[in-house]
Symmetry: C2
C-alpha cells in the first residue's frame, strides 16, 4: 500500500481526526534521536479509544502493514522508532482515568496518561505510585509498562511491573483482551500480563492498566554523601547493603557525572568530591529519621561530607537533570543501561571508563546503585560519525564484560532496536529459541513493532 492510499484507507476506517495529515519527523525518532537513528513511517494515527486501536491493528494485520506503538517518545533504545514503515500509533489521546479508588489503593488508567499525572493523582489521594523513571511529564504509563521502567525508588519498591495488577492489550490480530484486573492476586493461566510488561510493543499494544498503589510514606528524608572517587563510594554502597538497611532509593554519580551537575547541586559540594551517593529514608515519622541516621552512619566511612536534604524533592530534581547535563558536555551521548549483581557495581563503573578509554572516548556513569543498574555513557559530539562508530564498538565490549560479571544488557531501558544484535549475539541459543517461539506465537506475521527485541 502506498503511503497516501494507506492514509486514505485508514481515514475511512477510523474516527475523524485520528489519522494525521502527514508524517512529522518527530515520529521517526526517540529521545536518542540526536545520534541520527531515524526511522520511516507511512501514517501516524492517534486513536481516541482502545477499540479504535483494536480496529486499526486488525486492519493492519489483514493488510500486512507494520505497526509501531509510541508513548512519550522518551526511550533511549530506539524502541519507538518505526523501522519498516507502516503505521505509528501515537497513544497520546488515550489518557482517561477510568477508575480511581483511593480507599482500595488502586486506579485504572489508559496507556497515554503521562506518568507524572499518575504520580499526581496518587499523591492527591494520600497514596504513592512508586515507579519513577526519568522525564515523568513526557513519558506515558503505557511506555513504562512496555519497557517495565524503573527509576530511583525501584530499589525499595520494585519496577513498574510490580505495580500492575491488570492490563488491557490489543493483540497482534486486533483482539482487545483483559489480562487480570483489580484483583491483587491471580494465578489462573500463564502470567500473560508479565509477558506483555517489558515486551516493548512487539507482542501487542497496551491500551490500559490497573495499577496497585500504596499509602504514601509520612516522611521522606534524603541524604547525600561525597567521596574522593569511585573506590570509596562503591565501598560505602556495599556498606549500606551489608548493614541490612532498606533505603527507598540508593543512587550514585561517578566522577564525570558529578562534574556535569556540580554547579547546580542544591547544597554545599565539598572540595575534592569525585563520587556522590544519594539515599532516601522514608516511612513513618520516627522510622524515617532512624533510618536516615543509620544510613548516614553506614555511608560515613571514607566520606568527605554528608548532607541532609529536606524536602527531598530538590535533590531528586537535581538527580533527574544528570542525563541532560551529561549530554551537554560534548553535545551528544551514547548511553547504555546495564545491570550487574550489586557486589559487582564498583567493577562495572570502572569497566565503563576503561572500555571507553580503549575506544578513545570520554565516559561516565550514574544510576541505581542499590539495584546494580548503571547508565554507562560514552560522550561524543553531535554528528561525529566516527565517534559514534567507536561508541558502538565500546558498547559491544562493555556488554561482553557485563555479561561476564553475571549482568544484563538492560536494567530498565529495554532492548529496542539498538541492542537487538547484542541480545542475539550474547544470549544462550536455547534462550533465544524460547524468545523467538514466544514472538512467533503471539505475533505470527511479525508486524508488531518490527525490528525490536528479537
Amino acid at each position: 500500500v502506498k503511503p497516501r492510499a494507506l492514509r486514505s484507507e485508514l481515514r475511512k476506517l477510523l474516527e475523524p481526526g485520528s489519522v494525521l495529515p502527514d508524517v512529522a519527523p518527530l515520529y521517526l525518532v526517540d529521545a536518542a534521536g540526536a545520534l541520527g537513528f531515524v526511522g520511516s513511517a507511512d501514517a501516524i494515527v492517534r486513536p481516541v479509544s482502545a477499540h479504535e486501536v483494536a480496529t486499526l491493528v486488525a486492519w493492519c494485520d489483514s493488510h500486512d502493514v507494520p505497526v509501531t506503538p509510541r508513548g512519550g517518545g522518551t526511550g533511549l533504545s530506539g524502541g519507538a522508532v518505526p523501522l519498516e514503515g507502516g503505521v505509528v500509533v501515537d497513544m497520546v489521546r488515550l489518557r482517561r482515568v477510568r477508575a480511581l479508588d483511593p480507599l482500595q489503593w488502586r486506579m485504572q488508567v489508559e496507556a497515554g496518561l503521562p506518568t507524572g499525572e499518575v504520580h499526581r493523582l496518587a499523591r492527591e489521594n494520600g497514596l504513592l505510585y512508586p515507579p519513577d523513571p526519568g522525564a515523568s511529564e513526557q513519558s506515558q504509563l503505557g511506555g513504562n509498562v512496555a519497557t517495565n521502567a524503573g527509576g530511583p525508588h525501584a530499589f525499595k519498591y520494585g519496577v513498574t511491573g510490580a505495580w500492575v495488577t491488570g492490563l488491557e492489550v490489543v493483540t497482534a490480530s486486533g483482539d482487545l483482551v483483559q489480562l487480570g484486573g483489580a484483583t491483587r492476586k491471580d494465578v489462573a493461566g500463564y502470567d500473560l500480563r508479565r509477558l506483555f510488561i517489558g515486551s516493548e510493543g512487539t507482542l501487542g499494544i497496551v491500551t490500559a492498566a490497573w495499577l496497585r498503589l500504596t499509602p504514601a510514606p509520612e516522611r521522606r528524608l534524603a541524604l547525600t554523601a561525597f567521596y574522593p572517587g569511585t573506590p570509596e563510594g562503591a565501598a560505602a554502597i556495599q556498606q549500606v547493603i551489608g548493614s541490612g538497611l532498606v533505603p527507598a532509593a540508593l543512587e550514585y554519580l561517578d566522577p564525570g557525572a558529578l562534574a556535569a551537575v556540580a554547579a547546580t547541586y542544591p547544597g554545599q559540594l565539598p572540595v575534592g568530591a569525585g563520587f556522590a551517593v544519594l539515599a532516601e529514608a522514608d516511612g513513618g515519622h520516627d522510622e524515617a529519621l532512624t533510618l536516615r541516621e543509620a544510613l548516614a552512619d553506614a555511608l560515613s566511612d571514607g566520606a568527605l561530607a554528608l548532607e541532609c536534604h529536606v524536602p527531598a524533592d530538590a535533590l531528586w530534581r537535581w538527580r533527574d537533570s544528570v542525563s541532560g547535563a551529561v549530554a551537554s558536555i560534548l553535545g551528544s551521548k551514547f548511553s547504555e543501561d546495564v545491570a550487574v549483581p550489586v557486589d559487582r557495581l564498583g567493577e562495572a563503573i570502572e569497566i565503563t571508563i576503561e572500555v571507553a578509554a580503549a575506544h578513545g572516548l570520554p565516559a561516565c556513569s550514574w544510576g541505581h546503585a542499590g539495584d546494580g543498574n548503571l547508565h554507562s555513557t560514552f560522550l561524543l559530539a553531535a554528528g561525529d560519525v566516527d565517534a559514534l562508530s567507536r561508541a558502538e564498538d565500546a558498547a559491544a565490549a562493555l556488554f561482553a564484560q557485563i555479561r561476564a560479571l553475571g549482568g544484563s544488557l538492560s536494567g530498565e531501558h529495554g532492548i529496542g532496536s539498538f541492542k537487538r544484535h547484542h541480545l542475539l549475539a550474547m544470549h544462550d541459543p536455547a534462550e533465544l529459541r524460547l524468545l523467538r517461539a514466544v514472538k512467533r506465537a503471539l505475533d505470527p506475521k511479525g508486524l508488531m513493532n518490527p525490528g525490536k527485541v528479537i
Copy 2:
C-alpha cells in the same frame, strides 16, 4: 513404550538409583488426594542434578513420553497428578544450596529444597524470605515457583514471583536454560522468568532459582480481633485498608473456619465470636509498635475483643492448622482458592456459603483478606460421591459469581487439572488463544504436565 521397558530404558540413560523400582501410589495423587483424583504413571524418576533432568526430558521429548514434575505434593489443584502416564519427575534430591550471599541479600537454591529450609537459611543470616505458603516443611521451592505461591505475608511482601530474580529451567525439548540470575533488574528480552513462574510445569521444569531476600524486620507483632459475624469483620478489614495502614499480613476466618479451630486458639476467645481477623505489624522496634496500635484502632469498630500475640509464631502456627481442621469436620473438603478485588471480600465470603447451601453442602472460608484471596471450602464426607458431584457444581456456580465480581478462579493454588475446564469455559476466547499459543510455542508436543492449565 510399556512401563517395564520404559523403566529399563531410563535406567540405561540415568544415574544408578534415579529410576525407582516401581510406581508407588503416593506419586499418583496430590494433597487433595482424599477426594479420589488418582492419576497413573509408568515410571518415577528422582534426578540428582539439573543436567539429569535435562537428559531425561530430552529423551522423553524424542520418545513422546509425557512428563509430570512433582515437588512436595502439597498442591490442591491436581497439578502434580500424572494424568497421561509417562514419567513423574520427583525433585526431592535436587536440594543443594548453590549460593548464599547474606551481605548481598540473595541465595540460589535447587528446586527440591523445602520452603521451610529457605526460610531457615534466610533467618539464620538476619534475612527474610517472605513468601510463606502453608505446609512449608513439605512444600518445595520449585513447586512454589511453579504455582507462584503466596501465603499470609504476601499482602505486604508479594507472592513468590516477586522474590525470584533468576531461574534455571529445563525446556520441553530438554535444554537447560538460565533465565536471569542474581541481577535485581533485567529487561533484556521477554520476561521468560515470569512466564515460567506460575506455569505449573506445563512449559518446562524449574530446576533452580535465584532468590532475592530482604533484611529481617526487627520486630513482628501480631494481633487478633474477633467479631460477631462476617458483616462486622468484613467492615473492619475495609477500615484497615481505607486507613492506609500496611500490615505485614491481614487474614480472616469466617464463622465455620473459626469454629473448626476455636479449641486450639492460643489465647482467650470471646463468647459469641463468629469471625476473626489476624494482623501482623512488622518493622523497626518503634515502627512495629506504632503500626500495631494503629491496626488495633482500625480493627476496634464492632469488635468483641482484640488480643496481642507476642511472639507471633504461635498465632501463625494456629492459622496454618485451619486447613487440616476444616477437613476433619466431615472427613474431607473440596477447597477453592478464589480472589476478588478487596472491596468485594465480604460479598465473596457470603457467596461461598450461599452457593454451598444451594447445593446442600456446609461450607466455610478463610484466607488472605488483604489480598482478597479466599479459601472457599465445601465440606463433605470422604468417599461421598454424590456430595463430591454437588461440590463440583457448587464450585462452578461460585466461579461464575466470582468472575462477575471482577475476580479470579485462583489466587495462589493454580489451575492444575481440577479447574482447567472452568478456565476454558470462563475466560475470554481471545485470552485463551493467547494461552494456547504460548503453550504450543514452548511445548509443541504437549508432553509437559499434560492435562493441566490449558
